[in-house]
Symmetry: C4
Subunit: 225 residues, 4 copies
């Protein structure tokens, strides 16, 4: 009797664990959906006189191009953050308070991307470049702390291979954060150069993944979504 009750409790706890993970992921998805969508919806034509000519309208639309470019790039950046967040959360089986709060701070950093984007589009230059790099640097640093936290706690991971994946995620986040932090220094000599410098994030991540794959070549394949 005592034993059976324990089994029921254990089953109920597993179910609550799974629901807690689902809800955290759902909440994160909702926040990112709002951020990404509002950033695009923000792109608006300035108020023009009512019966303005076609040429004026066309000029006003074309004048928005730095805004379009910045928004599309930030959309892709947040999209990338979202896919990584998703894929990695597949390895999480349970959430604890630290994970919830690191995730909330991560979402707070992502929620600052539209501010940095609009700053970059409206006032291109050193200040906006540093703010943009700072926001992404912060987001990737929190990401590193988050996956390091998960990777060190077997009780919240989905399987034995997860700790390696979490190790990789931490490495990739640290690599990205490093690029953004260094680019802040670069921005002091040239903000254009700092922006080109960000392309290194892709290579830093690729490098981390290849190094990881090469090291664990003999191991089983990891789920990927």
């Amino acid at each position: 009797m005592e034993l059976r009750e324990h089994a029921i409790d254990a089953a109920r706890e597993r179910e609550l664990d799974a629901r807690a993970v689902d809800r955290l992921v759902f909440f994160s998805d909702a926040v990112i959906a709002i951020i990404i969508t509002l950033m695009v919806l923000e792109v608006r034509l300035p108020v023009l006189p009512e019966h303005v000519g076609e040429a004026e309208v066309l000029r006003a639309i074309l004048a928005l191009w730095p805004k379009y470019l910045a928004v599309v790039l930030s959309y892709l950046v947040i999209g990338l953050f979202w896919t990584l967040h998703h894929r990695r959360f597949n390895w999480v089986r349970r959430v604890d308070a630290t994970l919830v709060w690191l995730n909330l701070l991560y979402l707070l950093a992502i929620a600052c991307v539209p501010f940095a984007t609009s700053l970059t589009a409206e006032h291109p230059g050193r200040t906006s470049t540093i703010v943009y790099a700072g926001v992404l640097g912060l987001a990737t640093m929190i990401s590193a702390l988050l996956w390091r936290h998960v990777g060190r706690r077997p009780e919240i991971m989905a399987s034995a291979t997860a700790s390696r994946e979490m190790h990789l995620a931490t490495l990739m986040s640290v690599a990205s954060a490093g690029v953004f932090v260094v680019s802040i220094g670069v921005a002091f000599s040239s903000s254009n150069l700092a922006q080109y410098f960000w392309v290194l994030v892709f290579f830093a991540n690729r490098a981390a993944r290849y190094a990881y794959d090469w090291r664990h070549a003999g191991d089983r394949a990891a789920p990927d979504a």
Copy 2:
């Protein structure tokens, strides 16, 4: 032992696949819900003097009618896109990186509809007609790429009959994209004519579906939601 572990891994992978599809659909639903709702909430009365008469208020409300019309039409257009997106995602069993990114680009295109709608309502004419046709043309083109991608990968489809459905979805998307692209040319002679031209999208889609149904008349019925 080895075998059983494989079976558990396979079951876990199937579950992860199903969750990944659900999340992609959920994320898309959230983004489209935000777009559709904010577009309606945007319709606002201009600021009037505080103790203005009833006649003034009525006139201000009625002056918004081109805005209402444009928003209601765009609401129905996005609603149609949403139902098609939903119904077709029933055929997807697994997501890969290409599908995730094509879907993000699709949502980006849909997120531009409110911009085009507001432009059309405020500055009717050739430019706004071309922008509207361009946005819908882009959305349907990305849609075509998306379903073509799915239709060519048996490993991400839910069943054997799915490849035909995906083929149909691709055809319908291409047909719609074609109408929008041609209407851009039409807009150079008359923007009114171009807007009437869009009605052809309905017929092009119907035609594609009838042709498809006629061709596969002997096959089993397909789920539909």
Copy 3:
């Protein structure tokens, strides 16, 4: 073999049906959550001079009271619509295209409530009263069409008793719509009277429910959430 395949197809179809209902409800929930939240977030203090005194700030906050009142009332109205929508959708087992589109129109009508609310708060009078009654009248009329549609199609209802529930839902919606439509006429003599008239909606709904309960007193209890 043929038979088993049919069984699998039937199971898959049932699963797709359930998912389609869940998604429609989820989408509606998301749209209503956005409407209800943004309506509250819209209540903002007008821009005051930076170093204004405490008395000024307090006066500006208190001056917003018609806005607060209107928003809280509309919040409760939409909240009521949401709970009814939810409870009734428990009786739906499958969705068809008509249901999807009636639901989209229903959401469109609800999305107009914040517009009517802000109009009522800023320009109280006959016009705003008629607009508010018109929006709620429209929402309840679409609701009546929606539940009438469901109630007439046994294949999309969850159980045999559902048709009675749907009949009740239709009656209640028609009763509410009737009150709102009549109140538009009342508004022409007095907008205050028209607003008091809305209280009848509660009684009309209660009356419909009591009449229904009395008629079906011998039947089994209905689920309620």
Copy 4:
């Protein structure tokens, strides 16, 4: 036959109950995600002249610091409310009308936090301090009513131990509400002191939890997420 039908009805009712709880939680999550995200997205640079110098941009960004501080603090406060709401809803097995409406009022109070936050950042002083304390006091009072309601109805709780958890939740909410209400009085002598006074909420909650844990030290551990 009669019996089996009853069993099916009971199973269906349990399923509907679980879905109703899930939807209420989902709806609350969506509303809180919108509130928390829009509050952050609201932080915007004032419109500056187009070709303004780097120093001007930097000064404008730094001038926003009281806004940043207020938003980050409110983000953490709402985050805390959200985690508590979540954890406690694990103990709810069924929803009734009172729970739905108390939850809607709770969300309404939370939706007022951004208003209070922006007021505090823009017009620091007695009035804004009282408004902020009032909003949080209202939210915690509604929370107390909500958990007291659940704790008194065994038929809507998930397990026998839940009533104790609900008792604890009620106590913690009352303790927090008490601190906020008293701080309104403190604000009349000094608004700074009132804000420091809020720190007591943490200690009041800790104290309630420790007292509870000490009293129920011998009982079984409770799930926590």
